[in-house]
């Protein structure tokens, strides 16, 4: 059976990728963020999985608003890095794992999560920035194949936090039932608090973010109880992206061990958080 070995939650702000691509990680405005990633990167380098699942959202690059799937999964052998309007990021294309994708799809549909299937998909910063946070210098290839799991967080009504957590739990069962003996890393991306438009643009809520970072490992059910309205009010209209962390957390064991976390602001208009959890710890009887 396949086993989730770790979960990594991280913001996917495009300027984080741009700072890396332009060699600005030592810039005083950025250094604390990248220093804060280092312990997680060191641990992850020692715990390379066979395959990773990245829960993310597209930002007008791979999909548009003609079709707005609430949840989707990529089933391709390869995902091109999107040109978001300023050229492709200088990072490797993403290799997929169609066999795992199709197994997850079938298991999740059987559990009532009717995912939209993406046989072709260009992946944008929502997916590639988290891969860079994990592996800042990938060379010619990312550490392992990747299954993209897409969530609509852009157009209301986004899925509820509770539904995301339930999807994560079903995803965990789907992974466990995969017949291949492989290890899996799971990434939940987006957030933390931010709002890009409106008179409240630039809104940041460090108290909420700190609560979220403190709670995601120990009591995700509490976070899953938050309504869309409460998330938008507390974390900003784009901070609702945090629901994607709950899919990651739901796929993990009841007990997880925090390896590292860090909070930084601002990454352009956004509060940036990272939280890394080890899934291989003793469970309650």
């Amino acid at each position: 059976m396949a086993e989730v070995i770790w979960g990594l939650a991280t913001s996917h702000v495009p300027s984080i990728g741009a700072a890396m691509d332009r060699g600005r990680t030592e810039d005083p405005n950025w250094k604390d963020l990248f220093d804060g990633y280092a312990p997680a990167q060191a641990w992850l380098a020692e715990h390379r999985p066979d395959v990773a699942i990245v829960v993310y959202n597209d930002h007008a690059n791979g999909i548009d608003l003609d079709i707005v799937p609430t949840f989707g999964i990529g089933t391709a052998e390869r995902y091109r890095v999107a040109d978001e309007g300023f050229g492709q990021r200088p990072v490797p294309d993403v290799v997929g794992d169609p066999d795992l994708s199709l197994h997850l799809l079938e298991s999740l549909v059987d559990e009532g999560f009717d995912l939209t299937v993406f046989q072709e998909l260009d992946v944008d910063h929502g997916l590639t920035v988290p891969l860079s946070v994990w592996t800042p210098d990938p060379g010619d290839a990312w550490p392992c194949p990747v299954v993209p799991l897409l969530v609509n967080v852009i157009q209301y009504p986004q899925p509820t936090a509770a539904r995301c957590y339930a999807l994560g739990q079903a995803l965990g069962r789907a992974i466990a039932s995969y017949p291949e003996d492989v290890t899996v890393g799971i990434l939940g991306t987006g957030g933390m608090s931010h709002q890009l438009a409106g008179a409240r643009a630039g809104f940041i809520n460090p108290e909420f973010d700190t609560m979220w970072l403190d709670t995601i490992g120990t009591d995700p059910v509490r976070l899953a109880a938050l309504s869309r309205e409460e998330l938008i009010r507390q974390a900003g209209s784009e901070g609702i992206e945090l629901i994607m962390w709950l899919i990651m957390r739901g796929a993990m064991n009841e007990q997880v061990a925090r390896v590292h976390s860090h909070y930084f602001l601002p990454a352009s208009n956004t509060a940036a958080g990272i939280a890394l959890f080890d899934n291989r710890v003793p469970q309650p009887a």
């Binding site: 405005n29 930002h59 007008a60 690059n61 548009d64 608003l65 003609d66 707005v68 999107a82 040109d83 978001e84 309007g85 300023f86 852009i154 157009q155 209301y156 009504p157 608090s193 709002q195 890009l196 438009a197 409106g198 008179a199 409240r200 643009a201 630039g202 809104f203 940041i204 809520n205 460090p206 309205e229 938008i232 009010r233 900003g236 209209s237 784009e238 602001l265 601002p266 352009s268 208009n269 509060a271």
Partner: protein, 122 residues
């Protein structure tokens, strides 16, 4: 028709909620913004913006907002910030510049507010 995207649902002051009605209003304009990812389309757009807007079937109000670079109006007329940003990028504008526009401050003031741990409910 109300232009208040949150009417009748919930209201978070100063917070546009990009919902289904907003997305219906903005569909063609957002589609046009997405098309600006390609260099060829950016060239065509810049050669004759009004014609490109007409070909993209924007409403007259949307077309005027685009030609005037009235970012607030684009949001009010159904633009999604992630799509509107494609036009801003083409103009060499940053998300901090847009933040300044939405909050009535300069880009520098907005950036300074972000570096001071962001803005709070105002």
């Amino acid at each position: 028709m109300s232009t208040d995207a949150t009417a009748g649902r919930f209201d978070v002051p100063g917070t546009p909620v990009f919902d289904g009605q907003t997305s219906r209003r903005g569909l063609r304009m957002n589609r046009m913004f997405m098309s600006l990812r390609s260099a060829e389309n950016r060239e065509r757009f810049l050669a004759d913006e009004a014609a490109y807007c007409r070909d993209s079937e924007l409403t007259p109000e949307q077309q005027q907002a685009v030609l005037d670079r009235d970012w607030q109006a684009m949001i009010d007329l159904g633009g999604s910030i992630f799509y509107v940003y494609k036009l801003a990028m083409m103009d060499g504008r940053s998300m901090q510049y847009l933040g300044g526009v939405f909050t009535g401050t300069t880009e520098e003031e907005f950036q300074a507010a972000m570096r001071a741990r962001g803005r709070r409910d105002g």
